[in-house]
């Protein structure tokens, strides 16, 4: 009994040391090993489960679930939908990302007033459902190839706006997304910074969010990630699910077409 207990503890300790030793040899390889170790048992899976329940749960004044929500592939089709977002939606005559589309569904199907949800902070309970839903919906595209259309004029427009935003310098630091993500081979502290205008760089970001962040113990949606990028640049924080945030997503998603979705991801 006790011997077995000891063995389990030793195995766990050995795994920790193995990661540590590699980090000394080569920092990047060490971080990669750490990320790989985290892949197994990603707590994002817990949010995937709760998101799936929220999807099926009746709510709002119309007492309806989101099961008939059209994410672009037809009402209720979740499988593969995230790999093709953002996209143009006829009914709203807008290009929408996952979270703005979920808000549309909450309004139309459930009769929910989404204004307070849009206003609420990311750590507030109002946003928690959307974060869990984005974990769930994105998990249903895991292993699929990004296939974002830029064929519709509005989709093209959104992508182009995203590119302009990416290079747009503003704020008290005169910063742009491109300040950190506009050159190959850059890093901040120990984090490699993907070069977003390239297919490979864009995919590094786009295909791994939403993600669980180990350092904060929080599940982050793509909107949350983008909002925090703007905050770090000392921009005014964008309104949740506004066109600015969708445009940046369109730019990243459009650039990573063909890459394989790994959502939900896990980050340090």
């Amino acid at each position: 009994m006790r011997a077995k207990h000891m063995k389990a503890t030793l195995l766990a300790a050995a795994a920790v040391f193995a990661v540590g030793a590699q980090a000394q040899d080569n920092t990047t390889a060490g971080i990669e090993a750490y990320r790989e170790a985290l892949q197994d048992g990603n707590p994002a899976d817990l949010y995937v489960d709760s998101g799936a329940e929220i999807w099926k749960k009746k709510a709002g004044p119309k007492d309806a679930s989101l099961e008939k929500c059209d994410l672009g592939l037809g009402p209720g089709k979740v499988k593969g939908a995230y790999a093709q977002l953002p996209r143009y939606f006829k009914d709203t005559n807008k290009v929408q990302d996952l979270e703005s589309r979920l808000l549309t569904c909450m309004e139309k199907l459930q009769g929910v007033d989404t204004a307070p949800i849009i206003k609420a902070g990311f750590t507030s309970p109002q946003k928690a459902d959307l974060v869990a839903l984005s974990a769930y919906v994105s998990s249903e595209s895991k292993g699929m190839k990004v296939k974002v259309s830029l064929a519709h004029p509005k989709e093209k427009q959104m992508y182009d706006l995203g590119r302009r935003l990416f290079y747009y310098e503003a704020g008290q630091y005169d910063f742009a997304c491109a300040t950190c993500h506009g050159q190959e081979g850059k890093r901040i502290r120990l984090q490699d910074l993907p070069y977003i205008p390239s297919a490979e760089g864009a995919a590094k970001g786009w295909t791994t969010w939403p993600a669980y962040r180990v350092s904060s113990g929080q599940m982050w949606s793509m909107q949350w990630r983008i909002n925090d990028c703007f905050r770090q640049q000392r921009f005014p924080e964008p309104i949740y699910a506004s066109d600015v945030t969708i445009a940046i997503s369109s730019f990243m998603a459009g650039n990573s077409n063909g890459a394989v979705m790994q959502t939900p991801g896990i980050k340090r």
Partner: protein, 103 residues
């Protein structure tokens, strides 16, 4: 009411690897909220794992274990179809038990 755990277990060459992902805040009691009040400690302090009705691991935990803890370990024995049962108890006395079959 605590949220369910995710348990996976696979047996190979007479060794069973058990992987458990628990759903828990694991609040240390060291943090303060936005109004400056201490957030009370709330963490799992005991984990028990059974394989095919036999206890194979018990652990005493404290506040240093991360939020949503992940526990993986290997034990000798076990075969496909055996039941893995995990129970945790936290410092508030809350309990959660989940089970899964070895594949």
């Amino acid at each position: 009411m605590a949220n369910p755990m995710k348990i996976r277990a696979a047996s190979k060459d007479g060794v069973t690897e058990i992987k458990i992902l628990m759903n828990h805040e694991m609040e240390t009691g060291q943090r303060k909220d936005s109004s400056g009040a201490v957030i009370p400690a709330w963490y799992i302090n005991e984990v028990k794992v059974e394989l095919a009705g036999k206890s194979v691991m018990t652990a005493e935990w404290g506040p240093s274990v991360s939020k949503n803890p992940y526990l993986a370990f290997k034990v000798k024995g076990g075969k496909a179809g055996d039941k893995v049962v995990c129970t945790w108890t936290d410092n508030k006395g809350d309990k959660r038990t989940d089970e899964a079959a070895v594949s």
